[in-house]
């Protein structure tokens, strides 16, 4: 594996049946949540190269979680697997009581500490939809605490996820964002653009996954999960367009309180601009988006290169 600047090695691990392949199929392979029921178990390691934001390349290693594979990972394949890793994503099935799960996690953490000490670890506490609403917060916190206890004091970030709602998009947006070397440059540019357009907020999405790359909000909003909800809504609509043998290009939604534009932006991104100011002319906003496209093409490319 080349230790190239733009190649990012991402390990996706967890016991079999946790939902690793389902998740990556939804995010990267345009599966609908109900389509994932057709997936069988992953045999050994499935490596997929994913082009992200044009120049960024993610090497996603989906590691089959059956016991005999897991044994190999920590013994004979330890070196090759855990070396040069940028990100480890470990997936727990919240409904599983299997004690070996935490043991495997601990082994992963130890191996990472040894072979890729600079790697970042993300833990997805998955299938949260199977826990009744009133018990969700408590169950999640308990698992999160257990994860921290077994993380050998490494900096680990946890998310509660489900393929049936927007939580999946939040977790993967954050994971992918971590791998963009210069996302600060992007958010600064978006801020300038937002102010110039007199918009309430501007969000940048990656073209095929619709994960949130960057955003700037000039106005506070009560729903802190709105971006990932939009990712989910648009992604589902994109898939429904493909049934009609078409792809969606742009969208405007408005009522008396707001106007939202979602349009193709650079070659690898989409932009969403939301305005609640009725004095802002839609045609003008669309013109501004058109003018900004060329400018942002360079900025997006630059953000994928380390400084």
């Amino acid at each position: 594996m080349e230790e190239n600047d733009s190649n990012r090695k991402v390990l996706l691990m967890g016991k079999n049946g946790a939902g690793k392949t389902s998740m990556r199929s939804i995010i990267f392979a345009n599966f609908l949540p109900k389509d994932t029921m057709r997936l069988g178990f992953t045999i050994a390691i499935n490596e997929s190269r994913i082009r992200f934001l044009g120049t960024l390349c993610l090497a996603l290693w989906d590691c089959g979680g059956q016991d005999h594979f897991m044994q190999h990972y920590f013994e004979s394949q330890r070196d090759t697997l855990f070396r040069s890793v940028q990100v480890l994503i470990y997936v727990f099935d919240i409904k599983s009581d299997d004690q070996r799960d935490m043991k495997y996690y601990k082994s992963c953490v130890e191996a990472i500490k040894e072979h890729s000490p600079t790697a970042r670890i993300f833990v997805l506490i998955h299938k949260m939809d199977l826990i009744p609403l009133e018990k969700r917060s408590e169950t999640y916190s308990k698992k999160e605490r257990e994860v921290y206890q077994n993380s050998e004091s490494l900096n680990v970030v946890c998310f509660g996820t489900s393929i049936w709602d927007e939580t999946l998009y939040l977790a993967w947006s954050k994971i992918v964002n971590y791998m963009i070397p210069n996302s600060e440059m992007l958010s600064q540019s978006l801020k300038k653009f937002c102010v110039a357009c007199e918009a309430d907020e501007v969000v940048l999405f990656e073209k095929s996954t619709f994960l949130v790359i960057s955003s700037y909000s000039a106005k506070e909003h009560r729903d802190t999960h709105r971006f990932e909800k939009i990712s989910n809504i648009i992604k589902l609509f994109k898939l429904s367009c493909s049934k009609a043998a078409a792809r969606f290009k742009s969208m405007t939604v408005a009522n008396s309180n707001f106007c939202a534009f979602i349009d193709e932006f650079t070659s690898s991104t989409y932009i969403m601009l939301v305005s609640s100011d009725s004095s802002v002319q839609p045609a003008l906003t669309q013109m501004n988006i058109g003018i900004a496209k060329k400018h942002f093409e360079g900025i997006v490319k630059a953000s994928t290169v380390s400084q």
Binding site: H221, D223, R226, K229, I230, I233, I234, L236, F237, S240, C241, K243, A244, A245, A246, R247, F248, K249, S250, M251, T252, V253, A254, N255, S256, N257, F258, A260, V274, S276
Partner: protein, 323 residues
């Protein structure tokens, strides 16, 4: 406007009503209990359409009809008979249907009859041919009895709660029982021609049935695309278009509008017509460059629809006063 649902046990009458009118997911319907008593579902999402669906228990036998049942059935404009397509042979349920038709036709001669050949999904009905075969089989079995007893010919629909076919069927039967919709259809045809629109639907935003459409045939793909567009508009409006603690019905307001452009050159245009009623047009991108003209014509259409329904209300009221 009353519409009754009848059929043998476990055919799926209550499931249909729950999926279409109460937003139940089709998978959840496996767990609902059998209907033991007559249940009514009132649908009044917009000021123009009001109807009541009467869900009869599967155990209802027309031979044991009591006065209350008779009263309900005599007020029905239409009876939908649901047949489980996967439960062959069809002889017994079809016999039941003939008996129901005979009995109801005797005291309610204006009542229309529709048959939903339901559960037309799964391995048994993978191709269109297999589905049509079922429909032809059923109409053949009913033919002689219908002719003998001089009963009205029922309409046939192939339906399933797992796709939009049940929504399309219900939209069509509701149009059948609403004569005023013919005028709206004419207006929609005019709108189509003047604005060079390819297809237009007047949607009930809450249950995504269409109240009216133009006279070109309905294709499920365009219908599904429009229904999905409504989902997107409502979901995005619920995030950005509500102030404070308002709910979904205020997310879709008088100025709700949306334009979606597809790379195939098709544009979807949505405009609010009335409370919870949306006009969804499919236009070619080139024909959409005169949006102002389309908007002007839609405003005229909006007024026209209002007038038609108000006239219909007046007519109903005067008929009630006479009776």
């Amino acid at each position: 406007m009353q519409i009754a649902l009848l059929g043998t046990k476990k055919v799926g009458k209550s499931s249909i009503l729950k999926v279409v009118f109460q937003k139940m997911s089709p998978n959840e319907t496996l767990f609902i209990d059998s209907t033991s008593r007559i249940e009514e579902i009132k649908v009044e999402n917009n000021p123009y359409t009001k109807y009541t669906f009467v869900d009869f228990p599967g155990s209802f036998e027309v031979s044991q009809i009591n006065t209350q049942d008779r009263k309900i059935l005599s007020k029905c404009a239409m009876i939908i008979y649901v047949l489980d397509a996967q439960d062959q042979p069809y002889n017994k349920p079809l016999e039941k249907f003939i008996n129901i038709m005979t009995e109801v036709h005797s005291f309610n001669p204006d009542c229309m009859f529709e048959m939903f050949i339901h559960k037309i999904d799964g391995d048994m009905f993978v191709t269109e041919d297999l589905k049509l075969e079922a429909q032809n089989g059923v109409s053949f079995l009913l033919k002689s009895d219908i002719q003998e007893r001089k009963l009205p010919e029922p309409g046939y629909f192939l339906t399933s709660i797992y796709d939009l076919s049940i929504f399309e069927a219900l939209s069509k039967i509701l149009i059948k029982v609403s004569p005023q919709v013919n005028y709206i259809q004419n207006m929609l045809d005019n709108l189509m021609n003047y604005c060079r629109i390819d297809k237009v639907y007047l949607f009930d935003v809450i249950n995504k049935l269409y109240i009216a459409t133009d006279s070109t045939p309905v294709d499920l793909i365009s219908y599904e695309l429009c229904a999905d567009m409504i989902d997107v508009v409502i979901d995005v409006s619920c995030i950005y278009g509500i102030t404070g603690n308002d709910n979904m019905t205020s997310a879709f307001d008088k100025k709700s509008t949306s334009v979606i452009k597809l790379d195939s050159g098709l544009t979807l245009y949505l405009r609010e017509i009335e409370h919870m009623l949306a006009l969804v047009c499919l236009v070619k991108e080139d024909n959409f460059d005169r949006q102002n003209l389309i908007d002007y014509n839609i405003d005229i259409f909006k007024d026209g629809v209002k007038q038609i329904f108000q006239a219909h209300e007046k007519l109903l009221k005067s008929e009630e006063n006479k009776a």
